[in-house]
Amino acid sequence: MTNSPLFELRGISKEFPGVKALDNVSFEIKAGEVHMLVGENGAGKSTLMKVLCGAYRADQGAFFHNGAQVAIDGPADARKFGIAVIFQEFTLVPYLDIAQNIFLGREFKSRVSGLIDRRRIHAEAKRALDMIGLHIDPRTPVHKLGVAQQQMVEIAKALSQEARILVMDEPTAALSDRETDLLFAMIKRLKRKGVAIIYISHRLSEVLALGDRITVLRDGRKIASLLPAETSPDQLVMLMVGRPVDATYTRPSRPTPGEVVLEVKDLSGPGRFSDVNLTVCAGEIVGLCGLVGSGRTEVARAIFGADRVSAGEIRLNGKRIGASAEDSVRRGIALIPENRKAQGLAVARSVGDNIVLVGLRKLFPSGIFVPRRAMKAARAVIDKLRIATPSPRRPVATLSGGNQQKVVIGKWLNADAKFYIFDEPTRGIDVGAKAEIFRLLDGLVHNGAGILMISSEQIEIVRICDRAYVMRSGRIAGELKHHELTEANIVRLGIHQ
C-alpha cells in the first residue's frame, strides 16, 4: 500500500435549495485501502460520492489525482480516473440483459457503423462476471435476477470499467450473510489488486472489521478521520450523532408473554413457502430470520393477507384471518413493509395524509373527513415518535430515511393494532433512529401487542427478540427459544448444510 493518496477531494461544498449538503469537506483515498465513510442519513455521504463520480457538480472544492489537480465535470471525467460507484438504488435496466447492462453507455461498435457488437459485449460481460465468481449467462434479462445477483452485476459493471476507485453505498443492506461473506472476500481480493474502495455503511461491525480507515460525516461536515484500531463503536456513534447514543441497545425486562395472539398453521404459498407453523403471544417480540429470499417476507405478506395462500390457516386471537389486507387492518394487524418508498409511503403526499391513512375509519367513523382533526391526530403521532418535521403538511418525500420509517410506523398508531409485523424496520436507517425504533417496539409489547420482526441483521434479532424462527428455502428450519437465540445458531439453521 503506497502512502501518497490515489485520489483526493479538498474543501468540497455543495448546496441544494434549502439544504447545505456538503460544507468544506476534504477526503482522500489510497490505492489498495478500504476507506469507510460513516454518518447518519442526510449527513452527506451519498452527496459526497455523487460529487466524486461526477453525478453532481461541487459548488466549491478541488480534485487531485495522484497529486495533480484535475477537474470532474461529469461522469465521463470520473470514469477517466477509474472512479465507479455502486449505488443503493441499482442502476440496472430490467428488460435489458446482464451484458447490455454492464456495458450500458460503453457499447462496443460493430464493423457495420451505427450498430453494436453484441457478441463481443456478451463475451466481455462473461469475463467480468467470472472475475467476481458469478456464473450466470450474461444474456439473462436483469429483471429475472434477485437483489443480491443484481448487486453482483453492479459490481461487475464497475470492475469492467477498469475501476481503480470503487465506491460502495451500503452494499450489504440487501445481502444475506453468505452473500455478504462473498462480497467481503471479493473486496479483499480487489484490495490485493490495488483497487481503492470507499465503503459507506451503517453497520459498525463491518466498518470496524473491514475498514483500513474511517471518516465520519455529520450535517455535511467532516467530523473525524481515524483508524479502526484507535476507536470503538460507541465513539463512532457519538461522532456520527453528535450526542452519546446507546447504540448497543439492550432490551429492558419484558412482561411474561400473555396468551397467543397469532397462530399460523401449515401455511403454504405456491412456490414461495410451505408448511409454515408459528405462534406469537401478546407482549413478545418474535424474530423471523433466514437468508434473503428464504421466504420471510412472503410469509409476512401472507399473514397480513396481502398475498393468496394455497393451504393452511391464520388465526388472530382464535379468529381466522388473512382474507385480505383490508380485513387484516380492520382486525388490528399492522404490516411495516420492507420497502418504505415503494410499499409504505404515498411519497407525493404530506406527512399528515400518510399518518392518518390507516386510521381513517377509526378517526372518522362517520366517514366525514375533518382536516383539522386529521392534523391534530397527525401532530400527536409526530410528537410521540419525535418525527423531525416542522409541519404535518410537509411532503413526506423531504424527510430523511429514519423519519420516513417513523411515519410508516406512525400510520399504525391510530389504528391501535394488536399484532405488528416489522419487515426490516432498520434497513438504511442510522444508529440514532434505530435505537428509537427499538424503544418503540418495546413500548408496543408493553401495551400487550405481539410483534413479528424480520431482520437480516442477526445481532438485532438476538438483542430484541424473545424467540425467533429461522427460515430456509421456504420452510421453517427451526425455532430458537430465548436462551438458544445466538447469531451462531441463526446462521447454522439458516444456511444449507
Binding site: 461522469p75 440496472l92 435496466v93 450500458l104 460493430s110 453494436i116 429483471h143
Partner: protein, 314 residues
C-alpha cells in the same frame, strides 16, 4: 437459464396476440372462402402497412413510458403538405421531403416539450394533436387536396416481383426499427428510458436528447406514413388520419407491449397490427354489420389483454 431463458421470456408474451391472430385466421378461413386467397392476404397486409408505420415508433415511445396522441394528426398534416408541395412543384420527391420535414418538426416539438419542459407526454401530444389537426383544417379549409401527380399513386398500388410495394416499404421500416431497437445504442437507451433513467444518467448519457430523438423518430415515421396515405387516396384530406393514434396504441397493447418499465416487444406490435387488420377484413368479407364490427374491435382489445393478464399471473 441461458438463451433458453431469453426465448421463454419472449414467448411468455406471444399468446395473447398470437392466439387471437391464429384463431381469427382459422375462423375466417373456415367461414369465408375469399379469405385465404393470395389476393386477399396481400390486400390485408397492404391495408395494415400505414397503421404499422405508426405503431412501430409508437412502440418505442410507449417503452419510454411515453405516448404520442398526435401521430395521427401529424400524419394528416404531413400528407396535406406533401400533396400541396407535390402539386405546386410537380415533384413527388420534394413533396415527400416536405412531409418528412413536417413530421420531424412535430416529433421534435413533442420531444422538446416532454423532455425539456417536463410536460407529461399524454398532455403534450394531446396539445400538438389539436395544433396539427387545426393546421390541417385551416390550410385546406376542410377541402380535400387533389391533383397530385399520378406518379405518387404507384407507391401504393405498384408491385415488385408480385409483392405490393407498400408491404416492402413496411417490411423495410420494420427491419429498420428492429435494428434500431435491438442492434444500436439508441435502442438500448430506449429500454433504459423506460426501465431505469438513473442508469442512463450515471452512464453519462443525456436522456433528454434520447427522449427527443424517440419522439422525433415518431414524427418522421408519421411523415413517411403520410406518403403511403397520400398515395393510397391519391389526395390528401384533413380527416384522413383522425383516430389512427388510438388504433396504433390498441394494436400495440394487443401486441403485448406493457406500459411500464420499458417492457416492449416490437414483433408483438407487428402481430397486433396484422391481427386488427385481419379482424376488420374478415368481418367485411363475412359482411358482418358495421355495428357488430365496431363491437368486435373492442372485444379483441379486451380479450387479448385479458389473456396476457392471465399469463402474467401464472
Amino acid at each position: 437459464m441461458s438463451t433458453h431463458a431469453l426465448v421463454q421470456f419472449k414467448l411468455a408474451r406471444v399468446p395473447g396476440v398470437a392466439f387471437a391472430l391464429i384463431t381469427l385466421c382459422i375462423v375466417f378461413a373456415l367461414t369465408s372462402p375469399g379469405f385465404a386467397t393470395a389476393i386477399n392476404i396481400a390486400n390485408v397486409l397492404t391495408q395494415s402497412t400505414i397503421l404499422l408505420l405508426l405503431a412501430l415508433p409508437m412502440t418505442l415511445i410507449i417503452m419510454t413510458e411515453g405516448l404520442d396522441l398526435s401521430i395521427g394528426a401529424v400524419l394528416t398534416f404531413s400528407s396535406i403538405v406533401l400533396a400541396i408541395v407535390a402539386i405546386s412543384t410537380g415533384s413527388a420527391v420534394l413533396g415527400l421531403f416536405a412531409a418528412l420535414a413536417v413530421g420531424l418538426c412535430f416529433g421534435t416539438l413533442n420531444g422538446v416539450l416532454v423532455a425539456r419542459l417536463d410536460i407529461p407526454p399524454f398532455i403534450t401530444t394531446l396539445g400538438t394533436l389539436g395544433i396539427a389537426q387545426g393546421l390541417s383544417l385551416v390550410v385546406t379549409d376542410g377541402q380535400s387536396v387533389v391533383g397530385i401527380p399520378r406518379s405518387i399513386e404507384t407507391i401504393y398500388s405498384g408491385t415488385v416481383v408480385g409483392i405490393p410495394l407498400p408491404i416492402i416499404l413496411a417490411a423495410l421500416a420494420y427491419a429498420l426499427t428492429h435494428a434500431l431497437l435491438y442492434q444500436t445504442r439508441f435502442g438500448t437507451y430506449v429500454f433504459a428510458l423506460g426501465g431505469n433513467r438513473e442508469a442512463l444518467r450515471v452512464a453519462g448519457i443525456s436522456m433528454r436528447g434520447m427522449l427527443i430523438r424517440v419522439y422525433a423518430f415518431g414524427g418522421l415515421m408519421a411523415g413517411f406514413a403520410a406518403l403511403l396515405m397520400t398515395a393510397r387516396l391519391n389526395s390528401a384530406h384533413p380527416t384522413a388520419g383522425i383516430g389512427m393514434e388510438f388504433d396504433a396504441i390498441a394494436a400495440i397493447a394487443v401486441g403485448g407491449t406493457s406500459f411500464e418499465r420499458g417492457n416492449g416487444w416490437l414483433f408483438g406490435t407487428l402481430l397486433g397490427v396484422i391481427t386488427v387488420g385481419v379482424l376488420r377484413n374478415g368481418l367485411n368479407l363475412l359482411a358482418v354489420p358495421s355495428s357488430a364490427q365496431v363491437a368486435c374491435v373492442g372485444a379483441l382489445v379486451i380479450v387479448a389483454l385479458f389473456i396476457d393478464g392471465l399469463r402474467g399471473e401464472q
